[in-house]
Symmetry: C2
Subunit: 589 residues, 2 copies
Amino acid sequence: MYRTHKCSELRIEHVGQEVTLSGWLATSRDLGGMTFIDLRDRYGITQLLFNMDDDADLCGRARKLGREFVLRITGVVSERSSKNPNRPTGDIEIQVKTLEVLNAAKTPPFTIEENTDGGDDLRMKYRYLDLRRDKVQKNIIFRSNLALETRKYLTSQDFVEVETPFLIKSTPEGARDFVVPSRMNKGQFYALPQSPQTFKQILMVGGLDKYFQIVKCFRDEDLRADRQPEFTQIDCEMSFVTQEDILNTFEGLTKHLFKATLGKELGDFPRMFYDDAMKLYGSDKPDLRFDMQFVELNDVAKGKGFGVFDSAELVVGICAKGQATEYSNKDIKKLTEWMQRPQIGAKGLVYVKFTADGVKSSVGKFYSDEDLQAWGKLYGAEEGDMLLVLSGETEKTRKRLNELRLEMGRRMGLMKEGDFKPLWVLDFPLLEWDEDSNRFHAMHHPFTSPKKNDVERMLNGDHETMKALRADAYDLVINGVEIGGGSIRIHDRELQSKNFDLLGFTKEEAEAQFGFLLGAFEYGAPPHGGIAFGFDRLCAVLNGQNSIRDFIAFPKNNQGRDMMIDAPSPIHGEQLEELGIDLKKEEVV
Amino acid sequence: MYRTHKCSELRIEHVGQEVTLSGWLATSRDLGGMTFIDLRDRYGITQLLFNMDDDADLCGRARKLGREFVLRITGVVSERSSKNPNRPTGDIEIQVKTLEVLNAAKTPPFTIEENTDGGDDLRMKYRYLDLRRDKVQKNIIFRSNLALETRKYLTSQDFVEVETPFLIKSTPEGARDFVVPSRMNKGQFYALPQSPQTFKQILMVGGLDKYFQIVKCFRDEDLRADRQPEFTQIDCEMSFVTQEDILNTFEGLTKHLFKATLGKELGDFPRMFYDDAMKLYGSDKPDLRFDMQFVELNDVAKGKGFGVFDSAELVVGICAKGQATEYSNKDIKKLTEWMQRPQIGAKGLVYVKFTADGVKSSVGKFYSDEDLQAWGKLYGAEEGDMLLVLSGETEKTRKRLNELRLEMGRRMGLMKEGDFKPLWVLDFPLLEWDEDSNRFHAMHHPFTSPKKNDVERMLNGDHETMKALRADAYDLVINGVEIGGGSIRIHDRELQSKNFDLLGFTKEEAEAQFGFLLGAFEYGAPPHGGIAFGFDRLCAVLNGQNSIRDFIAFPKNNQGRDMMIDAPSPIHGEQLEELGIDLKKEEVV
């Protein structure tokens, strides 16, 4: 037997008991005649005491042990003379009687502590050591709990967890598919799913009524900052539902998860149309932890002789409360430069400060104080506040102002830890016109239904009509992060075919790729819709963290590599032979 | 709103209420002035009534509806005149007021009934229709429940569910790996995991202490009868444990699953050493629903002049209770022929019948009645019983007799539905010598530890010693089906290296493939061990069924094809280009 107790369990009431513990040597201190060792396992830390007077040999052996050695000890629980109130086991220590080294350890390349000295690459390579850090373990355990609570809640609502296949068919968005050559069907390939979308719809046609799955999905794309080639979704679908049913169900799930894991009660989630989100926040995922809504100034700022505004499609700004005196001209210049970086691309930045000394503005020579005071009124600005105003083409200007709003929120400390502001964003555009490829793209995906009122227009409308169609689609946003998105699906073959047409599929392509789904729609497909939550992201947001990597046990780096196992890697020629594939000459390694 | 109630919910106390239901038209009957429709959803069936006298137009429309049409109706719950006690909603019916066809349906290619007229291929192609069958839905829902109960139990025991990666590294048993070409690292490949083995061991080195995961695994092998290229495991690993700890934990899990899903209490599981299982049942997964143990006859059957037995390494038989009069000479001849088929390959079959008329045997001329009576005593045979005896090389003869024992069990009706006989089989051989490749193979896998007493012999023994090493490995068998298997792992670098040597790895190969694990063992790896259950198989066994396919929502056929989506399939040339691979000429399709 390796242990009678975990390293978290012993208390003052165990004093006098003989116990066996196993774990890692976290720290060791020699105090002349005594040696103290902190023994660590997943559950906690217990202090071990070795006494020269009691057993010089044993104490001598204990002194030779290094960090991260794996030990089994037996000993007697005793009360500490100097207690540690910060540790659950801090009232006791173990007077060790026997000591066995279960495994030795080389000195770790970085310290196993809250704030480790290990860089990212080193920690990824020695992930097994990084995983011993309390913070990383807490994240992994949090993730496990969050998954369990998700499952408990959804099954309590009659959802069935169904495993959909991983070896599926490559889709037209194939460039992002990972493919898998088939040995038994040489020259043919499976693809790994980017999502179980078509399968969950098939399950609805199959009468499963309420489906969910916590499932890995795969996307072979150039990895930006915080993406992973494999990621996890809470994937859901329901039959005989409207948007309202779905929002209620998954608002319920989200509330449950916050309550069960953080003990936090969230109120009812506000809802906002996509168009309003873009107009008021310049983003389809506004961070509602702070206000600072956009106010458009076209009516009051144009026609006063300031050419930049006069020629702009949109003049729009935000009000930064209490910032008038915080920003010197030099600060404003820096902020303007920040906005002019290529990532954002603003041409300039107009400010209006309302100070005790009156109104000050970079466009003071074009506008009277009364003009500017009138602007201020539109924002509810008071003395001490500062307007920041951008102008230009509508869409771009909104995007830039969104960046500025978020930056000001950060600088002003308005994104408070532990503050959670969920939001439903509704009624996205159905289709986006892409000038480059001269065709429509699906804003959500090709299976999304238009709003009921738009069905007729979609079936019979002209090209311009298509641009105005609204989708029965919705996103859940928390603190400016998109947690999930979904839609009511098309369940009618004719409408689905029309959508494929609009998206530039030939009849043959549509049939080859999605014939099974079009076929299924002919055999009694119920109205249905669903949603998918990004599970990695949800873990991070609930913990107020930005990086999903800290919530994945074995993440890949930005080149899609697993640094620990060193994958991907070349494979044997015989394996290629068996699969019926060759490397292109220039790729032979 | 699509429904106020599910099709399973309405009872006599709802009479008079107006309700809305949605579902599929299961059956329809015209009785002159009235039309009855059974409306079906996942939860149940409710009878709808359309009355010519009440609303001729509505009734007329109802008569035109076909099977599997998707309907929404509103109506009033009323008490039936002729109740159906076999259906939970059998006391009521709905007098329909409004009817909306949500979707039409073509006539399904097979009937959506318990015993469908659809063949396997047709049902796989139209899986969305097959999924509407009550039996298939029950299986899928059972699977979902079983997974949830597994998770509840294991998390209650401090297990953490950790997602291990799907894009990993190809291993030396690589011929069975599915590989995934990397676009970002051209010429290199990921592999899909055959199991998360090394990752779960790394998690133990990382201090996670108790890990589990319900996870898809992949094996690209020729598909025998009931295998799938992707299959699901309950995968587990624990630190600081002995075999005893693991058996207790997973016996606990198994008992919980039987109790939670079937309401069945299983007693404590018997345990049997591998050697005894082979000797007594000729199998490492004996079916203990019936007895019929092997009894070896070498001592009593040899040296009496019957050359076949005299020259045999082993003479061994079973006793079929009460079968003496059931088997005519012709029946015995047929049974002998069954045993002589190439799949089994027995040369002959000796019988001894104990009848009211005395002993009768195919080897009567070599043995006296007293000789044969003495055999009978060894089996505890009584009048009416029949011995069936085989002889030959030990291992082969045991295997053949195992087949015969199982066949007799089937014929004699000894494998009773609802009877569950679990068994732990312990201490498998560590290594198997393979004459063809002239090297050892790991019987379980290369990470399995020898029994503690065998470690010294393994490190220092000669070739013959290696053959006799026992592994600290165990299988859980239920009703003759292997449900799971596992082992205590090696956690010492030296011992693991020795094992790789024995298995024919060069130092370089071992380092290239498993360097990360060998490295991890140097940084304080704890003693650990684990187990994996075949989840698909577990679903089938709990339901007394043989085929795992019925418990998989979207199974593949014996050629590894998904018949519904028609995968695998060719991919575009540009995709190959991007991946840096070519098809071999003969595979271009």
